[in-house]
Structure formats: structure tokens, C-alpha cells
């Protein structure tokens, strides 16, 4: 890929950063995105944060879509895709606002997308790059989801919970209309495959999060697993599509 091609791709890319109370880390994430993806639009979806996420994101030069009520990660990310769709972007990158995803790694996602054999590219922690560690229970859960999704989507996925992804126009169009609400990462892979999209993984490095903890812990884990298993096994998602 030539630098000119890359620059052209960046100028047609919308970076979607869902953020819920990420005032501490959001500026660094935005700055890093602007540094590593010059020319790309940066959109922060502020999911009803109680802190200064909105001001800090604006000060760092991002477009802020502020949800007046907390919708959860699925509704927030989808807002970003709706924006990307309406503004006519060819590509969208989803990256967490908590500093877990390194914006310098987006290069690998975009590169794979530009090869033209994927509509959705997922950055996987488990394909050899980086040394991300997870607890044994967490690893077990991830293995289970991996098997479930790989079976349902009829090809192998190693990091189904990764929220570090790149989409082409076709995927943006789909997710702007259909996107799961509660724990969208896993379900969205199955959804994308259901609608005939080509989904591929690329190895990326991920850091441990800078601030805060995972939103999925304790009893929520049980609900998370149950919900995902249900929607993946029964079919494509509950609730009215919007």
C-alpha cells in the first residue's frame, strides 16, 4: 500500500469512539488517532457520561455525538455508524475510548480492508502479536464464545469480543440499520455473516485498559453468556430493528 493510497483511505474514514465516563483517557485516544490516522474524521459517541468526556473530546478536536440518555455500548456504536453513513464515509474504524486499543494498530485493519476481501475486519488479540493476558475464567469464556461463533458463522474466529474493528461501506450500511443492543461485539459477527458480509480477523496488539474496569463482571457475566448463546443459537437478535 502506497502512502498516497493510505492517505486517501484515511480521508474517507470515520473513526468511531464510544465513550462512557472516559474523561481521563479520551484525550489521549483522540490525539493518538489523529496522529496515526491523519485526515480521518474522529467521532466520539458520548453515551450519557456523567463526567467531562464531552468537553475533553471536543477540546481534543473530535466531533461529539452526545446521547441524552445512556443507551449502552451497542446503541452508542450504532450512532457512530449512522453518522458515518449519513456523512458518506467509505470506511469506519471502531476503537474503544478507554485506551485499550492502540490507534497505531489501525493501520493493520485498514490495510486488510483495502485488500478488498473483507467487509468487516476484526483486530484479534490472540493471533500472535502482542502479549495480552486474561484471567483463566475469562479465557475460558472467550474460548466458549469462539467455538460458538465459529460454528454459527462457519469460519474460525479467535477474538469475538474485540471492539477494535474496521468496516467498509457495505458493513456501515448494515450496522447503521441492524446492530445488537446489549453486548454487540459477538452478536454482530454472526449478524454480519447472516447478511452475507465477509468477516476476517487480523492480529493486533492490545494494552490493558488505562482506567476503569471491564463492564462485564460478576453476575453480569452469566447474563452476558446466556444472552449471547441464546441469540447466536436461536438466530438473529431480539428486539425491533431500527
Amino acid at each position: 500500500m502506497t502512502p498516497a493510497q493510505l492517505a486517501d483511505a484515511f480521508s474517507r474514514t470515520c473513526v468511531v469512539i464510544p465513550a462512557f465516563n472516559e474523561g481521563k483517557s479520551i484525550e489521549n485516544v483522540i490525539r493518538a488517532v489523529r496522529e496515526h490516522m491523519p485526515g480521518a474524521a474522529v467521532v466520539v459517541v458520548n453515551d450519557g457520561s456523567a463526567d467531562d468526556t464531552e468537553e475533553r473530546a471536543r477540546d481534543a478536536g473530535a466531533v461529539v455525538l452526545s446521547l441524552s440518555l445512556n443507551l449502552g455500548i451497542g446503541g452508542a456504536v450504532q450512532t457512530g455508524y449512522k453518522y458515518a453513513l449519513a456523512q458518506g464515509y467509505s470506511y469506519a474504524i471502531q476503537i474503544d475510548g478507554d485506551g485499550q486499543h492502540d490507534p497505531s494498530e489501525t493501520y493493520h485493519l485498514i490495510e486488510r480492508l483495502l485488500e478488498g476481501d473483507s467487509d468487516l475486519v476484526i483486530g484479534s488479540r490472540w493471533l500472535g502479536r502482542g502479549n495480552y493476558v486474561a484471567s483463566r475464567n475469562r479465557r475460558f469464556g472467550m474460548k466458549f464464545l469462539e467455538a460458538l461463533v465459529s460454528w454459527r458463522a462457519k469460519s474460525r474466529f479467535t477474538d469475538t469480543t474485540s471492539g477494535f474493528r474496521a468496516l467498509n461501506r457495505r458493513a456501515i450500511e448494515l450496522f447503521a440499520v441492524h446492530y445488537p443492543t446489549d453486548y454487540p461485539e459477538v452478536e454482530s459477527i454472526v449478524l454480519a455473516r447472516h447478511f452475507g458480509l465477509r468477516v476476517n480477523e487480523v492480529p493486533v496488539m492490545m494494552k490493558a485498559r488505562e482506567h476503569g474496569t471491564s463492564s462485564i463482571k460478576g453476575l453480569k457475566t452469566m447474563y452476558f453468556m446466556l444472552r449471547i448463546t441464546m441469540s447466536v443459537v436461536i438466530g438473529v437478535m431480539g428486539g425491533e430493528d431500527s
Binding site: L67, L69, G75, K82, Y83
Partner: protein, 116 residues
């Protein structure tokens, strides 16, 4: 007999509550009609049960006791109604999500316009 009187009293109180809720416009039309019908049916049943007039109806459905029939149909009604409520609630939360998203997108557009 005491039980029937209590049942009748509760039915009448429920009917009053329903009428008040309708007057205060706390129910949409269709639900108002539904709850009015339900209170009406419970009032009529409390009046008819002691006389044994409902027994042939229960027999028709293969149920020995009229009170059992009331239980069966009562449960069935509640089951279907709560399910219908879940469906309605899911639909409303999906619509609510869309509205919140649209609002955020429109506000962002407005910000761009006012800064131009």
C-alpha cells in the same frame, strides 16, 4: 359464602380503580377497554359463582369446579397479557433508542451549522 363476598368486594374496588384511571387518562383507549372488560367480568363472576350458574360452563370445558375454571382462564389471561406487554416494551425501547440516536445526530448537525 364469606369468600364470595370478599371476592365481590375486591372486584368492585378494582372496577372503581379502573374507572378512576380512565377518567385521569392514565390508560390508552385500548387498554382502558381491556381493563374495563376484565373488571366487568370479575364483578359478574363474583355475583354468579355462589348461585352455581357458572357450573355448566365449567363442565363444558371439562373442569369440575367453576372456581378452577376461573383460575385456569385467569392464569392464561395473565400469561398472554404479560407476554404482550414484554413485546410492547421491547418495541418501545427500540424506538426510544432510535430517538435518542436521532437527537444526538441532529444536535451535532446543529452545532456544525451554528459554528459556520
Amino acid at each position: 359464602m364469606k369468600g364470595y363476598i370478599l371476592g365481590g368486594a375486591i372486584s368492585l374496588v378494582f372496577l372503581t380503580i379502573t374507572v378512576r384511571a380512565i377518567r385521569k387518562k392514565q390508560l390508552t383507549e385500548i387498554l382502558a377497554i381491556l381493563w374495563l372488560a376484565v373488571s366487568g367480568v370479575t364483578v359478574i363472576l363474583s355475583a354468579l359463582l355462589p348461585s352455581g350458574a357458572v357450573t355448566p360452563v365449567a363442565r363444558f370445558f371439562g373442569i369440575a369446579f367453576p372456581s378452577d375454571m376461573v383460575f385456569v382462564f385467569g392464569m392464561l389471561f395473565l400469561l398472554l397479557f404479560t407476554f404482550q406487554l414484554s413485546v410492547a416494551l421491547s418495541r418501545i425501547s427500540a424506538r426510544h433508542k432510535t430517538l435518542v440516536q436521532e437527537l444526538a445526530l441532529l444536535r451535532a448537525q446543529l452545532d456544525v451549522r451554528s459554528s459556520e
